[in-house]
């Protein structure tokens, strides 16, 4: 398929990896920021093509994974109310809250719908004037413009029965949180291609300079990821640390300015809690006061719900690149996509779920572990 096959070409991949081998003089640890990149790496087996000593650790950029449990519970509390049509991106449906997932709520009679575009909610709201249509507005900067457009148009077109449950997070504060941690191992970043398609990449210059770390804005196809890795290695080997753009076929330094303007008019930056990491100051979007009548958190009297994550789960360390899924004693045994214990196992883009789905054959001992433990605790790979 044109524009796709070129970026999945085995011969090109070999050449890029050969060049990595030629220039590499020592081990390096890089982090791909986006969940989409993690998914692609494991789906195409890219990490096992890399030269020894070039390690990719997986970043916090899976929006489904980092949405805090409290927010999921809030979503579920709203979705089960009568007279609510709860709309969501598809992969949020399976994310477990404290009591089941959105599929469970649907099976109990909740009206839960998957939408491909937030703007579909306008259509649904017009067709169901007696119902409140609530959209679960999650994601990074990538989904912010479309989500902002929903709030904007709902207000402009005076569609009163549309609201947004907002849980939006931002990439740059997360990178700073990782880099400023005393445990940090990351020496270079494959930057978030689609986030930068919206925001541009100038806001990464100060981060790169302050922490002396290369950031290469990278796409999502296998060749993109290999090329971004090579560009990062080149900088590291040459002792440089700047922001570069591998994904130039899609974006430039300034991003999509009209989209940014819309986002600024609808959202305001504030603190956000990240599942597995905790609260990061000024790391997310909230609806501005002008949009209060479309803010589901204000419309629905849903109490704050206190939740606890299981102690065994190391997803916080995985999201910060300190550990990998195989380092977790619960991986593939107590914790599977069917019975996720933590953030990184819940979405297909989460590092643990991606390893589980595509890469668990690579560590036979973990499979033996599954087999050995199954009769004792009854938890097998299938849940």
């Amino acid at each position: 398929m044109k524009y796709l096959d070129e970026y999945r070409d085995g011969d090109v991949a070999k050449k890029i990896v050969g060049e990595m081998r030629r220039i590499q003089t020592r081990p390096w640890i890089l982090m791909e920021v986006c969940g989409g990149q993690t998914h692609s790496i494991v789906k195409h087996g890219i990490d096992h093509l890399l030269p020894e000593g070039v390690e990719l650790v997986h970043g916090p950029g899976c929006p489904v994974c980092v949405t805090p449990l409290e927010m999921i519970d809030k979503a579920h509390a709203i979705a089960q109310q009568r007279d609510v049509i709860f709309c969501s991106f598809g992969d949020m449906l399976r994310v477990p809250g404290s009591d089941g997932d959105l599929f469970t709520i649907k099976s109990r009679g909740g009206d839960v719908r998957v939408v491909y575009s937030p703007l579909d909610c306008l259509k649904i709201a017009r067709a169901n004037p007696a119902k409140q249509v609530v959209f679960f507005a999650i994601g990074f900067e990538t989904t912010a413009p479309a989500n902002a457009m929903l709030a904007w148009r709902a207000r402009e077109e005076q569609i009163e029965n549309v609201s947004l449950l907002v849980s939006h997070v931002l990439v740059p504060p997360a990178l700073e949180a990782i880099l400023s941690s005393p445990d940090n191992r990351v020496q270079g970043f494959l930057g978030p291609g689609h986030v930068c398609a919206v925001m541009g990449y100038r806001e990464y210059d100060p981060i790169s300079a302050r922490y002396h770390v290369p950031i290469v804005v990278t796409g999502f196809e296998p060749i993109d990821i290999l090329h971004g890795t090579l560009m990062t290695l080149q900088q590291l080997e040459q002792g440089r640390a700047v922001v570069e753009n591998q994904y130039s076929r899609v974006l430039g330094p300034d991003g999509n300015v009209p989209a940014q303007n819309l986002v600024r008019r609808v959202f305001v930056v504030g603190d956000r809690k990240w599942r597995g990491i905790g609260t990061i100051p000024m790391s997310g979007f909230h609806l501005r006061d002008e949009f209060a009548q479309h803010d589901a958190e204000k419309l629905f009297d849903v109490a704050e719900i206190a939740t606890l994550e299981p102690e065994i789960c190391i997803s916080g360390e995985i999201l910060r690149g300190i550990k990998k899924p195989h380092d977790c004693p619960a991986f593939g045994t107590l914790c599977t996509p069917q019975r996720p214990l933590g953030a990184t196992m819940v979405s297909a883009e989460g590092a643990c779920a991606a390893y589980y789905a595509y890469g668990r054959h690579l560590k036979p001992e973990s499979l033996h572990q599954i087999a050995a433990q199954a009769p004792a605790n009854g938890v097998a790979a299938h849940g």
Partner: protein
Amino acid sequence: MASPRISARDEEQPLEEKPSPAVFGSCPLPIFDHPQIVLGHGSGGKLTADLIDHIFLPAFRNPILDKLDDQAVLTIGGARLAFTTDSFVVTPIFFPGGDIGRLAVHGTVNDLAMSGARPLYLSAAFILEEGLAVDDLRRVVESMRAAAAEAGVEFVTGDTKVVNRGKGDQVFITTTGIGVIENGVHISADRARPGDQIILSGFIGDHGMAIMSQREGLEFEGAIASDCASLHGLVANMLATSTADGVDFIHCLRDPTRGGAATTLNEIAKRAGVGMLLREQSIPVRESVKGACEVLGLDPLYVANEGKLVAVVAPEMAHAVLAQMHQHPLGQDAVIVGEVIAEHPGMVLMKTAIGGTRVLDVMFGEQLPRIC
């Protein structure tokens, strides 16, 4: 789809045991046991298998059912009969390339054909929703008549029920079928052995994406039509591959419907206790289907087919069978996509286009579009 789908579970593992709550202390995360039926239980993936393991098998267990093939094989008075049943609840009931009636014939004929049987007779049971247009019913029934005539089978018994408006969705159809199996043909999911070649009869994902594009109101350039077709003719062609060793060279046949090719191959791998290694580049996917899947964030390997089969064939016969398949209109695009291996029993691996390897897992529930 007929008899219960194969379990993704290892036979030895106890069903009822759950992780002790003490392991997690006050863990707030749910243990996934769904007190209610969710849509994923009907997806043909892991949740469906769970339902079979936990509810149906314990109640109905017997040696014939335990084989968990797409059909039961019965020996009655010296004759070997294939017997299967299947329900159809597709929406919309009319879609590009077919409709619910045509599907109800092909689905059951195919489940019989996957045992190597010659399909003979069908039954049809209709659940009609109050308010259904009689013209729509007529159209569905006419297409069942035509599909049955093409397949050389006859409807010999049936039933009709009507439910209140809102208690059904236009029309649900259940078809049951029987057929005869020639002597010497022994096709079952547990017969795959290392070295066997894996053949796909053509492009995957057409049916699922045809339905999806209608359902989501997404219109793709170059409309995708369902592949729904009766496969017994193709199977007969394959069995007619000439050989000195009888007809025992086709070890497994499956039609990869719900859950797609990946789920079907996993079922075979688990049943037979073997591994599988596929080559991504050899798996045939139409450009239109590939594009639609990319847009929607779906994987064609998990998308339903209604006129394709997966065959596991003895290595020495694989090319002859393939040549024979190419002679049949429904097998023109057949290819060898991989082989059965002894390593990684119960798992399906795939060599990716760029040279990596990954696991192809069973689909869990519904395939969901990813956010980015």
